[in-house]
Symmetry: D3
Subunit: 312 residues, 6 copies
């Protein structure tokens, strides 16, 4: 579908509902107050200026409010900007809700939970299965709503679960090609590897890092979580140790945040699967905005590379 | 099967045919000449000393000769050593040949060629298909016999072809999971990525680097090869450019030998597939020698890590 | 000579012809369109704003057009800016042409070609001589017009040829001091080392990188060029291999873009000569704008250093 | 006192009890078995060869046995070696015990525990105090016997406790000089920072890394320990988070094993205190063996530097 | 006390004397001149704009002048800005002087000199004592007024002396804990380590780097100073060599500006003491502006970390 | 000339005078003493074993003694070894002296001094000229005998002076090609850049590092030397500052030992000239031992590269 902020071009006249993503107040050189409002829908966002704003405007147009705007798309310093003609708050009659404006994973949450549950169900090692199921249930609500990251990849509602589903499929292919891999360990590693993010991040919409997230990080948070699960379930085998190691090492190197490098085969593969799925997600999103024969913008999380879209 | 050098233990008495892998002459402290002979079969190798050797011994026992030896397995500085009791050259009556002592890929060469040919056959882009087929045919003989590297991974007869076959299967799985990938480009990249090794290395047995290999490297060698194929076939489209780019960038980073980093999606994935298959090969080989609950030796090509073999 | 943009100071009134280097359209805070025009002559460039521009202005004042302007030099955020009083397109009566506004190498192109030809003529190895001559002729037109780089050093018309001429002289001095060097190889390396830039860059004026340039780079482009020349001329000796190696290694290290480090003496020296000439060019240009006892601006390509100009 | 292995010189005749630190079996060039025995006392160790050893010798002289030896100190490849004249196992009449041969911290364990307990006693934050006391008690036995590391610094019996005592004194000085520091947090950090080593290492004598130690490391092991203590004690405040952060960040940087860098003042200081005490320990030990005006051997853990001992 | 620029908030009306820290002239988009004036008091600084300024304004309001201003604190791009209502130069009747507006060390200069002199007095090695006293006297005036750095830490009047006093106290504690340290050497190293800054920097207020400072640096400047002192005093022992080494190595590593790493114990400790005091100074200053439960701004000189202020 | 140790081959019988480079005493496995003697002439060195040596042998055959030996060249672990048949000390009748066995620069010392003096004589800046002449005279004796380094390049008698002479010629060529360079500064930089080595190293034969050399390094040593020269000569201009900067920065980067990077043009060029001459010296020496079509041993100081010697 080709409507939405990602598709408007300079000169377009638009009249539509949008969600306020952020608001900052500024002063013109001559000392007059104005608001810089970032508006979003499912496809992207755009900046708008509300000149000569009043005290009431400031209170009215705050983050997470839905507004109806009319205006024209202009270009300012190389980026689109919306020149506002009219703006008002949405009312209950407008029958719009916040979710309508948030990008969401392309699979339904129930469907994703069903797929993941099936992988857990098929595990043959009872210790691994019980710990995975325990932690998944404990955080299920957040797990199904959180993004996988605040930016770079899967940074949308339910991005975390979607990332896990994709990785599970990839893991399954690899297990079939290299049968010496322990499927239970690998699948459990996939499901749990980023689960600490539900504590590291503040929520599913416009998440920021929590204090615990900054001071410990999602990897170390999971050390305690797995310990607690094992104690709770009375499990005390090598499986606990290896699950912890899988989480600890999934960033691959100390300088990428893993206090230990992968030291079992499944940990090495988990690191690769995580990377491939994150990068394919970033690449697909970046290349979507580009025509054949052109290059994407530089992508910071991909070593600042600019990728080419072939003509054939 | 549990016979062969990899399986003998200290104290075993052996009498068997072996291939001479290398010979070096030495002097004892008192100035007497002796030979250090490294002997091999399909499963591994072992060192033996021939004390008080004669001129005739020196000529007789040279690299690639097959010998019949009798002796006892001893331990010297932590490694096995064969204490020779008898040694003689094999004769035509012994009916043994060099291939009997070389490790070879676990798939037959005809089978591998068949699989690869099928991938080429299914390509839909005629330019990519023709260049791939041309280069594969040109180097087919060497391609089916060379190892994929002089050490580290797939360092056995037909290792290069086996590495390509494994990578093709992995590539196919990934293409199915991420349908935005161009399968033709990716498969062609897999088939051609290390083909320059048939020029970079000196042969299929005990290969060393050729002068051309040292001064140019297999990546740059393929730049000329693809140019020449395209000229020969009269092909002049973006496919040629992208095939070259795939080869050029498959080591991922400048410091790993790629003059350009991957700048198309298929190049990024090619780099990952190459890594996964090489690492799984190294890990499987290293872990084969280790009991559950123990660690492998440090593996230089895996950042000098020592991997753990779980107990379950 | 002290006229030209590099020499004007704040407060100067100017009326002169200038070339439009680039144009971007902007909007004022109140939504009015204006043009930011960068104007240049042989000595430098300056930014000007055309407020309240019309549709016709936008079409009229485009890149590569010559205009006559009158205005005053002002200072804006520490850089000079031209406050426009009048602007019009040049007409045929004005008898000005684009070349009049482009910086060009300080030697004439015919003179440079003559010098280089003499070096080729004096080569004693026929294989090296023929390949060098072949490739020089094939790309002669572009070689004599292209800059040596898009920025940093020799970034002007015929900068590539001028860089080669300076390097040849330096190479000659070094060969005389270290007679074990092979002069033919070194001179050929100098002449060919950056010749791939005529494919990597888009043209001699305001060059950008071509798609081939981004995906392969001038070093790998030359691999195919030398192969093709050797095939065409029926040459097949070690000279071909070493010429390729010289090109491949002239950036010195993998992380600077060379897939192989220099492995012959002449390659090591080529790398140094390239560096010295590029750096002297950068330093002379940067120090020209600075008074004795002062420091230059930071120079990114020289590790971001700021150089001092002595008082004596 | 100047007796002990560290003080013998080439040519000395010795007759004394020593502890067997390690034994390895070898073969001479002519195939005869011998034992390489490393012997130790509190001051150091020395290698000895037992030629023509019997099966009984092999069983008799194993690691951790005490032997009485007579022999002469020789030099072999630049290192001292003991030429054995007589060797026998110690008997119960000899009245020697293993501890007599192990280097131990210069403070008694009870004294060290008393000092540390006093620091805990003076803590004013009850949460920090209770967690610290809980974990100290839980691991008290091992804490008082383990070394602080397997090599480099405090690598002797009770080295861990001694390292903590020294750091506490240093911490106290720094708290007095910079009163904005939270003493409770800093002291708790000092006491707990390396406590995970009692799980990471295998024991107090000749410790190696446990599997858990290799796969998780002492830093991550403490994440679970602090969680468990807090749960057990019903504590749930910011103190738990900050104690975890102190442990997590005490190696200072990701590449040195800390998944998070110090992000509170006390964590930054903890990292410095740990370094200063470890380095002073290494330097004092290395300089002890050196005369004024000379340099120590290179010390790997101090960036491979060789330190100078001044003449005054 | 809570008055001063650091404490004003958006909306405050202020009328006070302030010192002009810097002035830059600018032009509005429509070409009108204005001044950007940075004003400071002991607690901080703030930017103000003087629109439509005259030639007289430009001359009047120059760096280091004291002005009386009235205005309102506004927010501009996330930083405070003073909207000027009135501004005039201070007159002699106003009885204000430059020192009133400069941040100064929390100890009086006489007091600091007294403390340092005491440390010198107690030195027992006469060579070290005499060199230290000689250099301290030679540069006493500047030493007592200069900051320790142009930014990052102790960047205020007499910051250098205050940094030395704090380091001396810390050194004393450490000498008491590790009695093998040579106190004289360490104290002399503390006192002299940054003394070259009085040549490297241009003055005590708003210092910039001198040409000598840029081309040699304070470390190399001290090489000549100590040589000259030793020659002047007729001292020629190892003390001279070691004092030079202490200065040379106090940045710890080549990449941090030390041509030699610490190679004596006291040099290693000097490096640590310097770091601890500088970092505690930075941290205390950064955390002062932050409420409990919040993070500081990123601190560049602390690896760009953002520190947390605990709630208890 | 093809006699000398560098030219002997396995099997050669030799009888000649040689200089003892070093001696170490060892013990055979059975406890008998022997001497390992390294013998040298101008072309190279060789190891010999003196079995069953007596006390007298130990005293007689010490470093720097000249001996007459007869023996046969053998191969031991891939290196040549001399099997001694006879050995005796040289006597006065033999008329041999130490210098006959030391490698020396290919130019006579007087000739080199003459060339350098001419460069000094032609300097036009009297301050630079006087300082250079002063320091050259002060250290002339050592300057003409010392090597330029203990290993890697110009590591022979008078190597330092020869390195300077070569660099001066190269500097002259570069000054002619880039006339904006200040020749006086550059020549003075060349002459003085390594002069501190006469203090850093212990002598002209088999030099080691002095304590001053280890703790300060030749770069910092020259800071004091230039200061002292300037004071002595009553010179106080920018020339002193720039000469110091040239010395300080000639290693190019902090991590290569230069506390400041080059910040004037002549310093940048000095760094390059130093590199080119050192590398050409290393390459010529390494390639001398290699046949066309072969590679040298790995050269540590050249990034461990192995260089190729072309066939033409």
């Amino acid at each position: 579908m080709n409507t939405g902020l990602a598709h408007y071009r300079v000169g377009d006249q638009i009249e539509t509902f949008l969600l306020i993503k952020s608001v900052t107040k500024g002063l013109t050189q001559t000392g007059k107050p104005y608001l810089t409002i970032v508006l979003q829908d499912k496809t992207g966002d755009i900046e708008a200026k509300l000149w000569d704003c009043t005290k009431e405007d400031e209170e009215r147009y705050s983050t997470s409010a839905i507004v109806k705007v009319a205006g024209e798309v202009m270009s300012y310093r190389g980026r689109n900007q919306l020149k506002l003609i009219r703006i008002r708050l949405a009312t209950s009659q407008d029958a719009v809700k916040v979710q309508d404006f948030l990008e969401t994973a392309p699979l339904e949450q129930e469907k994703m939970m069903e797929i993941i549950t099936q992988y857990v169900f098929e595990m043959r090692n009872p210790n691994i299965q019980r710990i995975t199921r325990y932690l998944l249930r404990k955080h299920q609500e957040a797990f199904l709503h959180y993004p996988a990251a605040t930016k770079n990849h899967h940074e949308y509602v339910a991005g975390l679960a979607y990332h896990v589903v994709s990785m599970l499929k990839l893991a399954k292919s690899i297990v079939e090609l290299y049968p010496s891999l322990n499927a239970d360990l690998l699948y459990a590693g996939v499901i749990l590897h980023d689960l600490g993010k539900v504590t590291e991040l503040s929520g599913s919409v416009a998440p920021s890092y929590t204090t615990e997230g900054v001071l410990l990080g999602h990897i170390s948070i999971m050390m305690s979580e797995i310990s607690e699960a094992a104690t709770e379930l009375g499990i005390d085998g090598e499986e606990v140790l290896l699950l912890k190691h899988l989480i600890l090492s999934h960033h691959g190197k100390a300088e990428w945040g893993s206090p230990k490098p992968p030291l079992i085969k499944e940990a090495e593969i988990l690191h690769y699967i995580d990377n491939i799925d994150a990068k394919m997600n970033m690449l697909d999103r970046a290349l979507k905005h580009v025509k054949p024969g052109e290059f994407t913008e530089r992508i910071f999380a991909l070593d600042n590379r600019s990728f080419y879209k072939p003509n054939f």
